[in-house]
Amino acid sequence: MLEIFTWLASWLVYDLGGFDPNSKLGSSLHFFVEDTSKIFALLVVMIYAIALLRASLNLERVRYYIQQKNRFAGYGLGAGFGAITPFCSCSSIPLFLGFTSAGIPLGITMAFLFTSPIINEVAVIMLWSLLGWEFTLVYIAIGMTVGIGGGILLDSLGAERWLKAFAAKAYQNAAESPQADQLAPVRPSLTLKERHEFARNELYEIVARIWKWIIIGVGLGAALHGFVPDDWFSDNLGSGQWWNVPVAVLAGLPLYSNATGVIPIMESLITKGLPVGTTLAFCMSTVAASFPEFIMLKQVMLWRLLATTFIILLINFMLVGWLINLLSPWLFSSL
């Protein structure tokens, strides 16, 4: 079904535009037109459909579910809800305090915040259409693992010691006097019309936020695709020396992007011979470890906690990179 976008691009670029399919420019343009048209078409359909389904999911209910579960289920739920809950990074601080003041352990809250930028419906749709379902599943598993692992590690270090005083106090108050018979927030009963309105607003808002990232990401991916020779990375960097992974993580740090901008670049990096694990480590580092967002967390965390969190994330990315490089001959027969 998705071949229609390949035909569309061939018709526009080669037949109508008169570009030579074998030229660098022609091949870049084809890549750009095919990927942007495919991504936008899929996004419009899927964001709307998913928003219809999750219109009644709100943070109050998510918090309630997590509170009801034991600690270990909590990490999984935290990461899982981080992936599916619509959430804007500017709400990080209120969400953090809302969870903390309800007595939810720091590690579970952080599992939510770690996973949230890595996995979301836009990232999943793009990965699926560009790199296939095997890759998408591995990506989701990794994103969840990074979140859950980071959260467990923070709690095992007793990291709540390093919260700002007012946040630590709110957490303690909640832990000492749990509201025993707390009521579940009511599930808002929505009419189909309300769901449609919610989904339409979500669609406008998300597309307005990410369209330029897609253009930039696919543009860079297209340039790589057309102008860098195949297997350039494996010819020049060797295939998968251990130090490639930390270098990729560090290279991704100063780049501040969201998943939407990076995924089209990943596609090109992989076909140019960069090992899959190294590519993933680069992507995660770009998406999930961004300085602006970490600085925001300074409002509720002491420097020590901020630094610990950051280092845990970076180590996680490297482990992921090495592990996937090691496993990739078995995981991705098709790539």
Partner: protein
């Protein structure tokens, strides 16, 4: 005179919310004092988890995004 607080840690949406409330109030001829609240402690006190949120005279009236025109009018007239 209504005292309106726009709660949020300072993203663009919060500024938009404050602006729209001010203009709508002017059009309706309602006297308001709009302040932007970025202090996380106060936001926590209102138990808000998604911002922007709006409080009127110390009572939470809206949360979870930029309110639309209808919602703003309802908040101002309440």
């Amino acid at each position: 005179m209504k005292k309106i607080e726009v709660l949020g840690t300072g993203c663009k949406k919060c500024a938009v919310t404050a602006e729209q409330i001010t203009t709508t109030a002017k059009e309706l001829g309602i006297e308001v004092e709009v302040t932007k609240v970025t202090d996380p402690q106060i936001i926590m006190h209102y138990q808000v988890m998604s911002t922007p949120a709006v409080a009127v005279n110390g009572q939470l009236a809206h949360s979870g995004g930029v309110p639309d025109r209808k919602k703003i009018e309802a908040i101002l007239k309440a």
